[in-house]
């Protein structure tokens, strides 16, 4: 009897873009792209919050890809910083159009990530986590001590908003004007949706299975011809690209970037969003980020109680749903039982510690 597999673990035929799922996605898209902007058109604040949540989810989606190869990545803040500075420097000093800065930021971040990744990806578990955490700090300090190039603690300000995007004289996207949050909202939404599509495609393709095999048993994967080192770097580079592009967006959104823009805490949060949503689900980082960002804002009125309740809520979530919120969607068959006849026994959610 086949158990219901979570989205990321299912192969294509089983993915079940079933009718109920498609309807749910369509409804979600409707709310996200139409209902919310319409209803909150007058509230810069709310649009800003959702925009923030969108781009943070996108960045966190990158971290999710690293989880897919079995590594705990606490360096995403570093690459957001690298991407942000790339866009900032190109935009303020060389007048490069934002629409070029965005992908370039991703490329630069991916390139740096590839080089560093090649060296550190053979570490695993907490060792990899700690070294990526150090990387976040190291990059922050590097930008702080970057002299005239990065302008140190003063950062780079007055980053221009995205200009108009014209191809052959035809304006596809008009310039982002003044304080209007709407264009940023839709840009963040577009970036997030494209990102989700890319990661979903990655995870359901053969590459996704290669990653899965590496996560579950690197030695076995190597023995059947999978170039583990190379695929690890591909995954990490992909992840860093997301960080870089997200950073570029935020730089243009806030129109500034400082070494302090992304710290260890931010890297930790990017990782946290994945965890809270559920590591086994492509939508995990989105759920995690939206939930945390929105609940933080909702608690705003509670002032000094905000941080406290936030912390308590989070730990409760962790204690009751350590596998993430989306894990609720999986049928759980109770405590592990010995299987005598596998053909008929339901595949139980066995929690076995890998020795």
């Amino acid at each position: 009897m086949r158990q219901a597999l979570p989205v990321s673990e299912a192969s294509l035929p089983q993915l079940g873009l079933t009718l109920p799922r498609m309807v749910a996605l369509a409804l979600l898209a409707l709310v996200y792209l139409v209902a919310i902007p319409l209803y909150f058109a007058q509230s810069n604040y709310i649009l800003g919050v959702i925009t923030n949540a969108s781009i943070l989810s996108f960045i966190s989606l990158g971290v999710w890809v690293t989880f897919a190869i079995g590594r705990i990545n606490i360096s995403q803040g570093a690459f957001a910083l690298i991407g942000g500075y790339t866009a900032a420097i190109l935009g303020t000093r060389y007048d490069v159009s934002f629409w070029l800065c965005l992908p370039l930021a991703g490329v630069v971040a991916a390139a740096i990530g590839t080089v560093i990744g090649a060296a550190i990806l053979r570490l695993r578990g907490v060792y990899f986590a700690m070294i990526t955490l150090s990387l976040t700090e190291a990059v922050r300090l590097a930008f702080l001590n970057g002299g005239a190039f990065t302008q140190g603690a003063s950062g780079i300000v007055n980053i221009p908003r995205p200009d108009a995007l014209s191809v052959f004289g035809v304006t596809i996207i008009p310039a982002f004007q003044g304080a209007n949050p709407m264009p940023f909202y839709y840009l963040a939404a577009a970036v997030l949706i494209l990102g989700l599509l890319a990661v979903w495609r990655l995870t359901t393709s053969r590459l996704g299975w290669v990653f899965r095999s590496m996560r579950q048993n690197e030695e076995l994967a190597a023995s059947i011809g999978i170039n583990v080192a190379r695929y690890r770097v591909i995954a990490y580079g992909f992840s860093c690209a997301f960080g870089g592009m997200g950073g570029a967006f935020i730089a243009a959104f806030h129109q500034n970037i400082y070494p302090a823009s992304y710290s260890v805490t931010d890297s930790v949060y990017f990782m946290l969003y994945c965890f809270l949503g559920g590591l086994d689900f492509v939508f995990g980082p989105v759920v995690g980020a939206f939930l945390l960002v929105i609940s933080f804002e909702l608690l705003h009125d509670l002032q000094q109680y905000q941080a406290l309740i936030y912390g308590v809520l989070m730990i409760s979530c962790i204690l009751w749903l350590p596998n993430g919120i989306l894990s609720l969607s999986r049928r759980r068959a109770g405590p592990a039982e010995e299987n005598e006849e596998p053909a008929v026994a339901p595949a139980a959610e066995k929690m076995e510690r890998t020795p």
């Binding site: 393709s205 899965r212 076995l220």
Partner: protein
């Protein structure tokens, strides 16, 4: 030229020499077993041949090309595939998914093609699923294709490990103690399975402890003791070989059985 050539293979760990100038050849199509009492160096030799450990001296040639010290996935690319001693499988995938993923070396689509779901990629997928189903059926796992590997009973896991290895289209399959921990019935089935593998044109080199199975299945046997090769020959010759008998009796190993 022999398919696999082991030449003067040596491995030292600090002051201890685990494998000492071992040489032998494996011919295409044969089933060769490496046996020896506990601590004879079989495991180390296995790791050296499968390139999971670099040798201190000596080398391993496959089809004339040196593979010693090559990275594991490259060795697999050449057609040398190993199984693992413990039940090493991809636990959170079904049996079918396990074997499909092991077809990795047979893919014709590029990474970009795979990402964009090109026609080649889709053709690959279909071919892999068909081949995986066939391999599983052949090895007696047809009924449990859709069961998650971690829920399979122990006896099936060894077969799944072999199915995974077979999917990688090996020219030579290296089995790490394939009969370990099996009762006579299971051993008989496993022996049949190994014969079946040879019938599919795959040469087999196995390292094993269980003497009776080895005597039944092997064309030739190499015997190790204290890291050195002490005998080589057919099962009949080995059973009569004095050095072998001495090695096993001298160690008070009671697993020696006359076939």
């Amino acid at each position: 030229m022999s398919l696999l050539q082991v030449q003067e293979l040596t491995k030292r760990f600090g002051g201890l020499t685990a494998v000492n100038r071992v040489s032998f050849d494996v011919e295409k199509g044969e089933i060769l077993a490496v046996i020896g009492p506990n601590g004879a160096g079989k495991s180390t030799l296995f790791k050296l041949i499968t390139s999971f450990l670099p040798p201190s001296a000596g080398r391993v040639l496959f089809q004339g090309e040196e593979i010693s010290g090559m990275r594991p996935h490259r060795v697999a690319q050449r057609g040398v595939v190993r199984t693992f001693q413990e039940t090493t499988i991809f636990r959170e995938m079904t049996a079918l998914q396990n074997v499909v993923v092991a077809h990795h070396l047979r893919r014709r689509a590029s990474n970009l093609g795979i990402f964009l779901n090109s026609r080649t990629a889709r053709a690959d997928e279909a071919a892999f699923r068909k081949s995986a189903a066939e391999i599983l059926d052949y090895l007696g796992l047809g009924a449990v294709k859709e069961v998650e590997a971690r829920n399979l009973p122990h006896g099936y896991l060894r077969a799944l490990g072999i199915a995974i290895a077979m999917a990688a289209e090996p020219r030579i399959l290296l089995l790490d103690e394939p009969f370990a921990g099996m009762n006579p019935d299971e051993t008989e089935r496993a022996v049949e399975m190994v014969r079946g593998i040879r019938e599919r044109g795959v040469t087999v080199l196995l390292v094993e402890h269980d003497m009776s199975a080895v005597m039944r299945i092997s064309d030739r046997i190499v015997v190790l003791n204290f890291g050195t090769r002490i005998a080589e020959g057919t099962p009949a010759e080995i059973q009569r070989d004095e050095a072998v008998i001495e090695a096993y009796l001298g160690r008070e190993d009671d697993e020696v059985e006359a076939a």
